[in-house]
Protein backbone atom coordinates (compact mmCIF):
# COMPACT_ATOMS: atom_id res chain seq x y z
CA UNK A 1 0.00 0.00 0.00
CA UNK A 2 2.74 2.40 0.95
CA UNK A 3 4.56 3.82 -2.01
CA UNK A 4 7.72 5.49 -0.88
CA UNK A 5 10.24 4.65 -3.53
CA UNK A 6 9.79 5.70 -7.08
CA UNK A 7 13.33 5.11 -8.30
CA UNK A 8 13.68 5.10 -12.05
CA UNK A 9 16.67 2.80 -12.11
CA UNK A 10 15.54 -0.78 -11.73
CA UNK A 11 18.75 -1.75 -9.96
CA UNK A 12 18.50 1.05 -7.43
CA UNK A 13 14.88 0.06 -6.92
CA UNK A 14 15.79 -3.46 -5.84
CA UNK A 15 18.48 -2.16 -3.49
CA UNK A 16 16.13 0.41 -2.00
CA UNK A 17 13.29 -2.06 -1.46
CA UNK A 18 15.62 -4.49 0.31
CA UNK A 19 16.92 -1.83 2.65
CA UNK A 20 13.54 -0.30 3.33
CA UNK A 21 11.97 -3.55 4.47
CA UNK A 22 14.87 -4.52 6.69
CA UNK A 23 14.89 -1.11 8.35
CA UNK A 24 11.13 -0.86 8.64
CA UNK A 25 9.97 -0.75 12.24
CA UNK A 26 6.22 -0.40 12.12
CA UNK A 27 3.74 0.27 14.90
CA UNK A 28 4.32 -2.12 17.82
CA UNK A 29 1.64 -4.58 18.95
CA UNK A 30 1.30 -3.54 22.61
CA UNK A 31 -2.15 -3.09 24.17
CA UNK A 32 -3.32 0.04 25.97
CA UNK A 33 -5.62 -0.30 28.97
CA UNK A 34 -5.86 2.78 31.20
CA UNK A 35 -6.16 2.30 34.97
CA UNK A 36 -6.72 -1.39 34.33
CA UNK A 37 -10.26 -0.63 33.17
CA UNK A 38 -10.53 1.63 30.10
CA UNK A 39 -9.79 -0.39 26.95
CA UNK A 40 -8.33 1.83 24.27
CA UNK A 41 -8.65 0.94 20.59
CA UNK A 42 -5.23 1.91 19.28
CA UNK A 43 -5.31 -0.11 16.04
CA UNK A 44 -8.27 -0.61 13.74
CA UNK A 45 -9.35 -0.72 10.10
CA UNK A 46 -9.11 2.60 8.34
CA UNK A 47 -12.35 4.51 7.71
CA UNK A 48 -13.72 4.08 4.17
CA UNK A 49 -12.74 7.56 3.03
CA UNK A 50 -9.00 6.84 3.48
CA UNK A 51 -7.58 5.90 0.10
CA UNK A 52 -3.97 5.01 0.83
CA UNK A 53 -4.04 3.43 4.28
CA UNK A 54 -5.61 0.11 5.38
CA UNK A 55 -5.01 0.23 9.12
CA UNK A 56 -4.96 3.21 11.45
CA UNK A 57 -2.76 3.41 14.53
CA UNK A 58 -2.69 5.69 17.52
CA UNK A 59 0.58 7.57 17.91
CA UNK A 60 0.95 5.63 21.19
CA UNK A 61 2.20 2.60 19.21
CA UNK A 62 5.21 4.47 17.90
CA UNK A 63 6.56 5.59 21.26
CA UNK A 64 9.02 3.75 23.50
CA UNK A 65 7.80 1.35 26.20
CA UNK A 66 8.77 3.89 28.87
CA UNK A 67 6.74 6.67 27.26
CA UNK A 68 3.82 4.30 26.68
CA UNK A 69 3.78 3.29 30.34
CA UNK A 70 3.05 6.86 31.49
CA UNK A 71 -0.36 6.61 29.90
CA UNK A 72 -1.48 3.35 31.48
CA UNK A 73 -2.23 4.83 34.89
CA UNK A 74 -3.63 8.26 35.66
CA UNK A 75 -1.25 8.57 38.62
CA UNK A 76 1.69 8.29 36.23
CA UNK A 77 0.17 10.46 33.51
CA UNK A 78 1.51 14.02 33.92
CA UNK A 79 -1.29 15.25 31.65
CA UNK A 80 -3.77 14.48 34.44
CA UNK A 81 -2.40 17.42 36.45
CA UNK A 82 -3.89 19.69 33.79
CA UNK A 83 -7.16 17.78 34.00
CA UNK A 84 -7.25 18.40 37.77
CA UNK A 85 -6.62 22.11 37.31
CA UNK A 86 -9.43 22.23 34.77
CA UNK A 87 -11.77 20.44 37.19
CA UNK A 88 -11.29 23.34 39.60
CA UNK A 89 -12.01 25.82 36.83
CA UNK A 90 -15.09 23.83 35.89
CA UNK A 91 -16.58 24.67 39.27
CA UNK A 92 -15.27 28.24 39.48
CA UNK A 93 -17.73 31.10 38.96
CA UNK A 94 -16.41 33.63 36.47
CA UNK A 95 -17.83 36.56 34.45
CA UNK A 96 -20.76 38.96 34.73
CA UNK A 97 -23.45 36.23 34.83
CA UNK A 98 -22.10 34.69 38.02
CA UNK A 99 -21.91 31.21 36.57
CA UNK A 100 -19.44 28.34 36.37
CA UNK A 101 -19.41 25.59 33.77
CA UNK A 102 -21.02 23.37 36.41
CA UNK A 103 -23.96 25.80 36.85
CA UNK A 104 -25.28 24.72 33.46
CA UNK A 105 -23.51 21.48 32.60
CA UNK A 106 -23.46 19.79 36.01
CA UNK A 107 -20.61 17.31 36.42
CA UNK A 108 -17.79 17.29 33.87
CA UNK A 109 -18.81 13.68 33.18
CA UNK A 110 -21.83 15.13 31.36
CA UNK A 111 -19.35 15.86 28.56
CA UNK A 112 -18.82 12.10 27.91
CA UNK A 113 -19.00 11.50 24.16
CA UNK A 114 -18.49 15.13 23.20
CA UNK A 115 -14.77 14.93 22.38
CA UNK A 116 -15.42 11.99 20.05
CA UNK A 117 -17.57 13.99 17.62
CA UNK A 118 -15.56 17.23 17.48
CA UNK A 119 -14.83 19.23 15.34
CA UNK A 120 -18.50 19.37 14.43
CA UNK A 121 -20.85 21.55 12.38
CA UNK A 122 -22.61 24.08 14.61
CA UNK A 123 -26.03 25.04 13.23
CA UNK A 124 -26.24 28.30 15.09
CA UNK A 125 -22.80 29.52 13.99
CA UNK A 126 -23.20 28.09 10.50
CA UNK A 127 -19.70 26.64 10.59
CA UNK A 128 -17.59 23.79 11.89
CA UNK A 129 -16.38 24.50 15.43
CA UNK A 130 -13.75 22.94 17.67
CA UNK A 131 -14.05 22.15 21.36
CA UNK A 132 -11.90 25.16 22.24
CA UNK A 133 -14.30 27.39 20.27
CA UNK A 134 -17.29 25.92 22.11
CA UNK A 135 -15.63 26.56 25.45
CA UNK A 136 -14.88 30.17 24.54
CA UNK A 137 -18.38 30.57 23.15
CA UNK A 138 -19.83 29.56 26.53
CA UNK A 139 -17.45 31.91 28.29
CA UNK A 140 -18.16 34.99 26.21
CA UNK A 141 -21.82 34.42 25.25
CA UNK A 142 -23.18 32.59 28.29
CA UNK A 143 -20.96 33.53 31.24
CA UNK A 144 -20.00 37.08 30.34
CA UNK A 145 -16.36 36.10 30.90
CA UNK A 146 -13.15 36.76 28.96
CA UNK A 147 -12.17 34.21 26.37
CA UNK A 148 -9.19 31.98 26.99
CA UNK A 149 -6.19 32.02 24.64
CA UNK A 150 -6.78 29.36 22.00
CA UNK A 151 -3.66 27.28 22.67
CA UNK A 152 -3.03 28.61 26.20
CA UNK A 153 -2.62 26.35 29.22
CA UNK A 154 -6.03 27.07 30.77
CA UNK A 155 -7.85 26.23 27.54
CA UNK A 156 -5.75 23.16 26.79
CA UNK A 157 -6.33 21.87 30.33
CA UNK A 158 -10.10 22.30 29.87
CA UNK A 159 -10.03 20.47 26.54
CA UNK A 160 -8.04 17.72 28.29
CA UNK A 161 -10.73 17.45 30.98
CA UNK A 162 -13.49 17.24 28.38
CA UNK A 163 -11.47 14.62 26.45
CA UNK A 164 -10.66 12.55 29.52
CA UNK A 165 -14.33 11.73 30.16
CA UNK A 166 -14.61 10.29 26.61
CA UNK A 167 -11.58 8.03 26.84
CA UNK A 168 -12.27 4.65 25.27
CA UNK A 169 -15.08 5.95 23.05
CA UNK A 170 -14.42 5.71 19.32
CA UNK A 171 -13.71 8.92 17.43
CA UNK A 172 -16.61 9.50 15.08
CA UNK A 173 -16.56 12.94 13.45
CA UNK A 174 -19.07 13.64 10.69
CA UNK A 175 -17.54 14.47 7.32
CA UNK A 176 -20.66 14.74 5.18
CA UNK A 177 -23.63 17.10 5.07
CA UNK A 178 -22.84 20.64 6.16
CA UNK A 179 -19.32 19.62 7.30
CA UNK A 180 -18.28 18.32 3.92
CA UNK A 181 -16.82 21.48 2.35
CA UNK A 182 -14.73 22.13 5.46
CA UNK A 183 -13.56 18.52 5.40
CA UNK A 184 -12.56 18.87 1.72
CA UNK A 185 -10.58 22.00 2.56
CA UNK A 186 -8.79 20.12 5.34
CA UNK A 187 -7.98 17.26 3.01
CA UNK A 188 -6.44 19.67 0.51
CA UNK A 189 -4.28 21.15 3.25
CA UNK A 190 -3.20 17.67 4.33
CA UNK A 191 -1.82 16.87 0.90
CA UNK A 192 -0.37 20.32 0.10
CA UNK A 193 3.43 20.36 0.01
CA UNK A 194 4.53 23.45 1.89
CA UNK A 195 7.67 25.49 2.45
CA UNK A 196 11.17 25.24 1.11
CA UNK A 197 11.32 21.54 2.02
CA UNK A 198 8.07 20.96 0.09
CA UNK A 199 6.65 18.35 2.45
CA UNK A 200 2.98 17.62 3.12
CA UNK A 201 1.45 16.01 6.18
CA UNK A 202 0.92 12.96 3.95
CA UNK A 203 4.60 12.72 2.98
CA UNK A 204 5.55 12.10 6.60
CA UNK A 205 2.42 10.65 8.21
CA UNK A 206 0.90 8.62 5.36
CA UNK A 207 3.83 7.64 3.10
CA UNK A 208 6.45 7.22 5.83
CA UNK A 209 4.86 6.24 9.14
CA UNK A 210 6.82 3.53 10.89
CA UNK A 211 10.11 4.92 9.57
CA UNK A 212 12.70 6.98 11.34
CA UNK A 213 13.21 10.57 10.26
CA UNK A 214 16.43 11.44 12.03
CA UNK A 215 15.73 10.60 15.71
CA UNK A 216 11.94 10.53 15.37
CA UNK A 217 9.82 7.44 14.80
CA UNK A 218 7.08 8.67 12.50
CA UNK A 219 3.48 7.92 13.47
CA UNK A 220 0.35 8.51 11.41
CA UNK A 221 -0.03 11.93 13.03
CA UNK A 222 -3.40 11.02 14.56
CA UNK A 223 -5.12 13.39 16.99
CA UNK A 224 -7.23 10.94 19.01
CA UNK A 225 -4.70 11.44 21.82
CA UNK A 226 -4.96 15.21 22.06
CA UNK A 227 -4.27 17.19 24.08
CA UNK A 228 -0.92 15.41 24.41
CA UNK A 229 1.48 15.86 27.28
CA UNK A 230 4.92 16.04 25.66
CA UNK A 231 7.96 15.03 27.66
CA UNK A 232 9.89 17.40 25.40
CA UNK A 233 8.15 20.60 26.55
CA UNK A 234 6.62 19.18 29.76
CA UNK A 235 3.12 20.50 29.15
CA UNK A 236 -0.17 19.67 27.51
CA UNK A 237 -0.18 20.57 23.82
CA UNK A 238 -3.21 21.34 21.68
CA UNK A 239 -3.65 19.82 18.23
CA UNK A 240 -3.28 23.24 16.59
CA UNK A 241 0.01 23.88 18.36
CA UNK A 242 1.26 20.54 17.05
CA UNK A 243 0.06 21.32 13.52
CA UNK A 244 1.88 24.63 13.70
CA UNK A 245 5.15 22.97 14.68
CA UNK A 246 4.90 20.40 11.91
CA UNK A 247 4.19 23.04 9.23
CA UNK A 248 6.99 25.26 10.52
CA UNK A 249 9.40 22.35 10.20
CA UNK A 250 8.86 22.30 6.44
CA UNK A 251 10.33 25.83 6.37
CA UNK A 252 6.85 27.16 5.61
CA UNK A 253 4.69 30.04 6.73
CA UNK A 254 2.33 28.42 9.23
CA UNK A 255 -1.37 29.02 9.79
CA UNK A 256 -2.51 30.41 13.12
CA UNK A 257 -4.02 28.22 15.83
CA UNK A 258 -7.78 28.75 15.69
CA UNK A 259 -7.67 29.80 12.01
CA UNK A 260 -10.23 28.49 9.52
CA UNK A 261 -7.43 26.49 7.88
CA UNK A 262 -6.46 24.69 11.09
CA UNK A 263 -10.11 24.07 12.00
CA UNK A 264 -10.55 22.39 8.61
CA UNK A 265 -7.31 20.48 9.03
CA UNK A 266 -8.35 19.35 12.51
CA UNK A 267 -11.64 18.01 11.16
CA UNK A 268 -9.87 16.16 8.37
CA UNK A 269 -7.11 14.73 10.58
CA UNK A 270 -9.69 13.71 13.22
CA UNK A 271 -11.66 11.89 10.50
CA UNK A 272 -8.55 9.90 9.55
CA UNK A 273 -8.78 8.52 13.08
CA UNK A 274 -12.50 7.64 13.05
CA UNK A 275 -12.62 4.30 14.88
CA UNK A 276 -9.66 4.85 17.22
CA UNK A 277 -10.52 5.54 20.85
CA UNK A 278 -10.35 9.00 22.35
CA UNK A 279 -7.15 8.86 24.40
CA UNK A 280 -6.51 12.42 25.56
CA UNK A 281 -4.68 13.46 27.56
CA UNK A 282 -2.04 11.15 26.09
CA UNK A 283 1.71 11.14 26.66
CA UNK A 284 4.22 11.53 23.85
CA UNK A 285 7.87 12.49 23.61
Amino acid sequence: MKNTFKLKTAFACVVAAGLASSAFADADTDKLVINGEIDIITTTVAPAHLENVDTIYSGWHFRSDETQAFQMDDFDNPGMIGVEKASENWDTVDGSEGKSCASCHGEAESMAGVRAVYPKYNEEKGKVTTLAMEVNNCRTERMGAEKWKYTGGTMTDMVALISSVSRGMPVNVAIDGPAQSTWEQGKELYYARTGQLELSCANCHEDSYGMMIRADHLSQGQINGFPTYRLKNTKLNSAHARFKGCVRDTRAETYNPGSDEFIALELYVASRGNGLSVEGPSVRN
Partner: protein, 156 residues
Protein backbone atom coordinates in the same frame (compact mmCIF):
# COMPACT_ATOMS: atom_id res chain seq x y z
CA UNK B 1 39.63 54.87 -7.75
CA UNK B 2 39.74 51.87 -10.05
CA UNK B 3 41.42 49.68 -7.46
CA UNK B 4 38.84 50.70 -4.92
CA UNK B 5 36.00 49.78 -7.25
CA UNK B 6 37.49 46.40 -8.02
CA UNK B 7 38.11 45.57 -4.40
CA UNK B 8 34.58 46.67 -3.54
CA UNK B 9 33.24 44.36 -6.22
CA UNK B 10 35.45 41.55 -4.93
CA UNK B 11 34.23 42.06 -1.39
CA UNK B 12 30.65 41.92 -2.61
CA UNK B 13 31.38 38.69 -4.45
CA UNK B 14 33.04 37.16 -1.42
CA UNK B 15 30.31 38.34 0.90
CA UNK B 16 27.54 36.59 -1.00
CA UNK B 17 29.80 33.67 -1.86
CA UNK B 18 28.81 33.87 -5.52
CA UNK B 19 31.85 33.65 -7.75
CA UNK B 20 31.92 34.70 -11.39
CA UNK B 21 31.53 31.21 -12.88
CA UNK B 22 28.84 30.08 -10.47
CA UNK B 23 25.69 28.84 -12.17
CA UNK B 24 22.70 30.40 -10.40
CA UNK B 25 19.87 27.96 -9.50
CA UNK B 26 17.52 29.17 -12.25
CA UNK B 27 20.22 28.60 -14.91
CA UNK B 28 21.06 25.00 -14.06
CA UNK B 29 20.53 22.72 -17.07
CA UNK B 30 19.24 19.20 -16.35
CA UNK B 31 19.60 16.40 -18.89
CA UNK B 32 17.63 13.33 -17.82
CA UNK B 33 17.95 14.61 -14.28
CA UNK B 34 21.75 14.99 -14.48
CA UNK B 35 23.87 18.15 -14.45
CA UNK B 36 27.16 17.91 -16.37
CA UNK B 37 29.09 20.99 -15.23
CA UNK B 38 30.30 22.01 -11.79
CA UNK B 39 27.88 24.57 -10.34
CA UNK B 40 30.67 26.56 -8.74
CA UNK B 41 33.20 26.18 -11.53
CA UNK B 42 35.42 24.46 -8.98
CA UNK B 43 36.03 20.94 -7.81
CA UNK B 44 34.24 19.73 -4.69
CA UNK B 45 35.89 18.93 -1.36
CA UNK B 46 34.72 15.48 -0.19
CA UNK B 47 35.70 16.11 3.44
CA UNK B 48 33.60 19.27 3.56
CA UNK B 49 30.78 17.32 1.86
CA UNK B 50 30.88 14.64 4.54
CA UNK B 51 30.19 17.29 7.19
CA UNK B 52 27.14 18.58 5.30
CA UNK B 53 25.60 15.11 5.45
CA UNK B 54 25.02 15.66 9.15
CA UNK B 55 24.37 19.31 9.68
CA UNK B 56 22.49 22.46 8.81
CA UNK B 57 20.52 22.62 5.62
CA UNK B 58 22.06 19.40 4.31
CA UNK B 59 21.11 17.00 7.08
CA UNK B 60 20.96 14.20 4.54
CA UNK B 61 21.06 11.53 7.23
CA UNK B 62 17.68 12.72 8.49
CA UNK B 63 16.42 10.54 5.63
CA UNK B 64 19.38 8.38 4.54
CA UNK B 65 21.64 5.84 6.18
CA UNK B 66 25.35 5.71 5.40
CA UNK B 67 27.22 2.80 6.94
CA UNK B 68 30.61 4.52 6.88
CA UNK B 69 29.16 7.37 8.95
CA UNK B 70 27.92 4.99 11.64
CA UNK B 71 29.45 7.23 14.31
CA UNK B 72 26.50 9.56 13.65
CA UNK B 73 23.49 8.49 15.69
CA UNK B 74 19.89 8.48 14.43
CA UNK B 75 20.15 7.93 10.70
CA UNK B 76 16.79 8.11 8.96
CA UNK B 77 15.01 5.59 6.76
CA UNK B 78 12.92 7.72 4.40
CA UNK B 79 15.23 7.36 1.41
CA UNK B 80 17.50 4.47 0.35
CA UNK B 81 20.84 3.99 2.11
CA UNK B 82 23.51 5.89 0.21
CA UNK B 83 26.09 3.10 0.47
CA UNK B 84 27.29 2.47 -3.08
CA UNK B 85 25.66 5.63 -4.45
CA UNK B 86 28.97 6.38 -6.18
CA UNK B 87 28.69 3.07 -8.08
CA UNK B 88 25.02 3.49 -8.98
CA UNK B 89 25.20 7.04 -10.26
CA UNK B 90 27.63 9.12 -12.31
CA UNK B 91 28.98 12.38 -10.92
CA UNK B 92 26.63 14.32 -13.21
CA UNK B 93 23.64 12.31 -12.02
CA UNK B 94 24.59 12.82 -8.39
CA UNK B 95 24.90 16.57 -9.02
CA UNK B 96 21.42 16.59 -10.54
CA UNK B 97 19.97 14.57 -7.64
CA UNK B 98 21.49 16.83 -4.99
CA UNK B 99 20.65 20.08 -6.82
CA UNK B 100 17.03 19.13 -7.56
CA UNK B 101 16.06 15.51 -6.97
CA UNK B 102 12.55 16.21 -8.27
CA UNK B 103 13.85 16.19 -11.83
CA UNK B 104 15.27 12.66 -11.53
CA UNK B 105 12.59 11.31 -9.17
CA UNK B 106 9.24 12.89 -9.91
CA UNK B 107 7.31 13.78 -6.77
CA UNK B 108 10.08 12.62 -4.42
CA UNK B 109 10.12 13.60 -0.76
CA UNK B 110 13.75 14.67 -1.13
CA UNK B 111 13.99 18.47 -0.94
CA UNK B 112 15.47 20.48 -3.83
CA UNK B 113 18.73 21.75 -2.39
CA UNK B 114 19.66 24.13 -5.21
CA UNK B 115 16.38 25.66 -6.27
CA UNK B 116 14.96 29.04 -5.30
CA UNK B 117 11.59 29.31 -7.05
CA UNK B 118 8.13 27.77 -7.07
CA UNK B 119 7.48 27.19 -3.36
CA UNK B 120 4.05 27.22 -1.71
CA UNK B 121 3.75 29.18 1.55
CA UNK B 122 7.47 29.74 1.75
CA UNK B 123 8.63 30.47 5.29
CA UNK B 124 11.63 32.36 6.60
CA UNK B 125 13.73 29.33 7.57
CA UNK B 126 12.15 27.71 10.68
CA UNK B 127 10.45 30.81 12.09
CA UNK B 128 6.99 29.94 10.76
CA UNK B 129 6.81 33.49 9.34
CA UNK B 130 6.40 34.26 5.64
CA UNK B 131 9.52 34.79 3.53
CA UNK B 132 9.11 37.62 1.04
CA UNK B 133 10.48 36.88 -2.43
CA UNK B 134 12.75 33.95 -3.22
CA UNK B 135 14.96 32.27 -0.61
CA UNK B 136 18.64 31.41 -0.70
CA UNK B 137 19.05 27.83 -1.91
CA UNK B 138 19.39 25.27 0.91
CA UNK B 139 22.96 24.59 -0.20
CA UNK B 140 25.36 26.95 -2.01
CA UNK B 141 26.84 25.94 -5.37
CA UNK B 142 30.10 24.99 -3.68
CA UNK B 143 28.32 22.98 -0.98
CA UNK B 144 26.51 21.01 -3.71
CA UNK B 145 29.90 20.28 -5.29
CA UNK B 146 31.33 19.24 -1.93
CA UNK B 147 28.43 16.86 -1.32
CA UNK B 148 28.74 15.42 -4.84
CA UNK B 149 32.48 14.89 -4.31
CA UNK B 150 31.67 13.04 -1.08
CA UNK B 151 28.95 10.89 -2.67
CA UNK B 152 31.32 9.73 -5.44
CA UNK B 153 33.51 8.23 -2.69
CA UNK B 154 30.62 5.99 -1.57
CA UNK B 155 31.58 2.88 -3.55
CA UNK B 156 31.30 -0.74 -2.50
Amino acid sequence: MKILAISAALTAVLATGVAADTVVPSDVVYEDGAVAMSLSGKAGDAAAGEKIMNKGAGNCIACHQITSLDYLAFQGEIGPALDGAGDRWSEAELRGIVANAKVMFEGTMMPSFYRTEGFYRLGDAYTGKAHPGNPEPLLTAQQVEDVVAYLTTLTE
